[in-house]
Amino acid sequence: MQSSGYAQGKLSFTFVLIALLLVLTADLEVSTLDPWSEMGRMATGLITPDFFATEYLFEALFFTLSIALLGISFGAFFGFFLALVFNYLLVRIVCAFFRSIHELFWALIFLQLFGLTPLTALCAISIPYACTLAKVYAEIFEQADNTPALTVSRKADVLSVFIYTKLALVKDQLISYTRYRFECALRSSTILGFIGMPTLGFHLESAFSQGNYSEVGALLLSFYLLITSINLWLKAKLLPVYIVAAWFYLPEFGNVSWENFARFFGSDIWPSPLRRATEFDLQAISEAIHWYWSLLTGEIVEGVVNTLVLTQLALVTTGGIALVAFPLAVRLFVGFSGRLAGQGVLVVLRSTPEMILAFIFLLLLGPSMLPAVLALAIHNGGLIAFLLAELANNLTLRVDAPIQRHGFYKGKVFNGQAVSLYLYEVLPRIYSSFLAFLFYRWEVIMRETAILGILGVTTLGFYIDSAFEDMRYDRAMFYIVITALLCIGVDLMSRFLRKKLNVKPSLG
């Protein structure tokens, strides 16, 4: 019988092999003349931040924060109630579909309805977040111990039983997951700046474009400060105050035009042959089908192919970065202080939105797939490395492992043993968790790959963005649906592989 490691190794090898073949076909060219000097200027900017370069710094910071806070609040509110009815197939399907549409695509849709108002930003975050939270909340409820409910009478009302035996049991889990998603919402809110919302991302983009790297440094540092200080200021008792303050901080939503709404959903998004047809008959339907078919065989093919290629390349690179980077934050390899420093680096990597990383790499390396691969791999690799390091720090090794037992370097590897310890003691123990994390990120990486098209890489997002620019909403909607289906497909594939290889995120 073969070891479970064998199947995992074989699969990993296949993924790497596919990626290597794709490298040959993909466009990974560096087209800028002198990336190094530009990088030098950026680095100088980062270490000489100029907090007075923009008078909008605080405004942007509060706007980003308000949108994220209100977005996650609405998302958690609706997600909670959706989770209670999550056993209905229809709810599950709608949630799966809505959460596979990236918040920036949602923003592009709501932009047509409400214009460049905070309402657009709020909806763009609340909807996909509500659907993601619904799924996770439902899983938490399902996995919760059922025995407390057995000890109470069947005559007790459903709500009381739910509150006492279920909600009380999983309250902390719900809160800690929602807290984590709030950090994600801050990133989402930031990158909404790339489509014109006055969040940090908006000012980052303009500062980058003007080469104002000291302003970039100030904006980025403020962003990191916001993320790392969450635990200091986000207190349960103050939350209502924050939410009310955020609500009143945001500028007015303006007039919501229901005519716009009706026009967009009633007419704009349906295929042009249907809209032009005088009656809704067989001929109109057949023309509409032809229209869809011509789209399916048109430019979108390149978009789909590029999205798939880029996803696979980014996935494998993410894995590589995670495996190389996680020892940086493991006490065993770098000692106690080294671990703190390593964790700091990994937190910065995972906190930086991939959109911003991609933007930086595009400036440095010129337009190709390379910036997108690097951005996705660094962000996701940092995130997975952080989780792996946590697992590795909790490992109990065999007593006679070659580890320093006494003195200043206590707990650290003896000289020269690091590689064998990594390969024989640490990696085999966490490899299964590594694959689980990576497969969990697969769908996320694909969704992000698609969205990076907005920056000019010819993935699906590029075609969606252009369709919106040309006001071809029917086309844009169709492309969004294709993207969503692709993400759902990858999610199913990931679930299948995780089940087949029996990999789980925690230690076995």
Binding site: T147, P148, L150, D157, S160, A168
Partner: protein, 216 residues
């Protein structure tokens, strides 16, 4: 009419039952101990019996079934959720409504000073006593327990089991401790190898007979 009746029942998973051909009758007022080696099907039998008379029985599950983050007070209060409306139940989480009567139970269990502590901060033995407290507070004629006193010291176990016995008309308890089974119950049902090995009044049994059950 008998309180509980099973005739030729197969219990456990549908395709691979844990217990086969189980026939038994339990009358109200009986004090029944279920004994047998681990994995013999005591919990399976108890759970089935509980599902038949859920509204008449107070259950003390093997895993305790406590809600860790809630206070000891609220874990016991939970036993009577059906007696109050939703609003009072929610209000009780903010301001305890039955403090005194639950304090009386907690005193009996030696947990009077732990009322406000969340049960996930209690020790195994303390948690077990909270589970018993909740069953007592349900105030039902039948007590059903799955190893309800296994984490307590012998003296405490005996005392609490007699207290449980005094406060309930009928007792159905899965138990490992053979001495307790002989001393506190008047009928013993022994399970082994997927069936009922014997079902006798305690007066006809002794420790040697029970020990034999645990020999391979």
């Amino acid at each position: 009419m008998a309180l509980l009746e099973l005739s030729d029942a197969a219990l456990g998973y549908e395709n691979s039952p844990v217990l086969n051909n189980v026939s038994l009758t339990i009358e109200a007022g009986e004090k029944v101990a279920l004994i047998g080696p681990s994995g013999a099907g005591k919990s399976t039998l108890l759970n089935r019996l509980h599902s038949l008379i859920r509204e008449q029985a107070a259950l003390c599950p093997q895993s305790h079934g406590l809600v860790g983050p809630l206070s000891l007070y609220n874990n016991i209060y939970m036993a009577r959720l059906e007696q109050f409306n939703t609003f009072s139940n929610i209000w009780n989480l903010i301001k305890p409504q039955r403090w005194d009567e639950i304090a009386a139970i907690a005193s009996k269990l030696g947990l009077r000073d732990k009322m406000k502590i969340s049960v996930d901060k209690l020790s195994g033995g303390q948690r077990q006593r909270v589970a018993i407290g909740r069953a007592l507070y349900r105030n039902k004629p039948v007590f059903m327990g799955d190893e309800p006193v296994s984490s307590l010291d012998p003296l405490q176990a005996k005392q609490l089991l007699s207290h449980i016995s005094d406060s309930h008309h009928t007792l159905i308890v899965a138990i490992h401790d053979r001495h307790l089974a002989l001393n506190c119950f008047d009928r013993i049902i022994a399970l082994k190898g997927g069936k009922i090995e014997f079902d006798k009044p305690t007066s006809q049994l002794d420790i040697i007979a029970l020990n034999a059950l645990y020999q391979p």
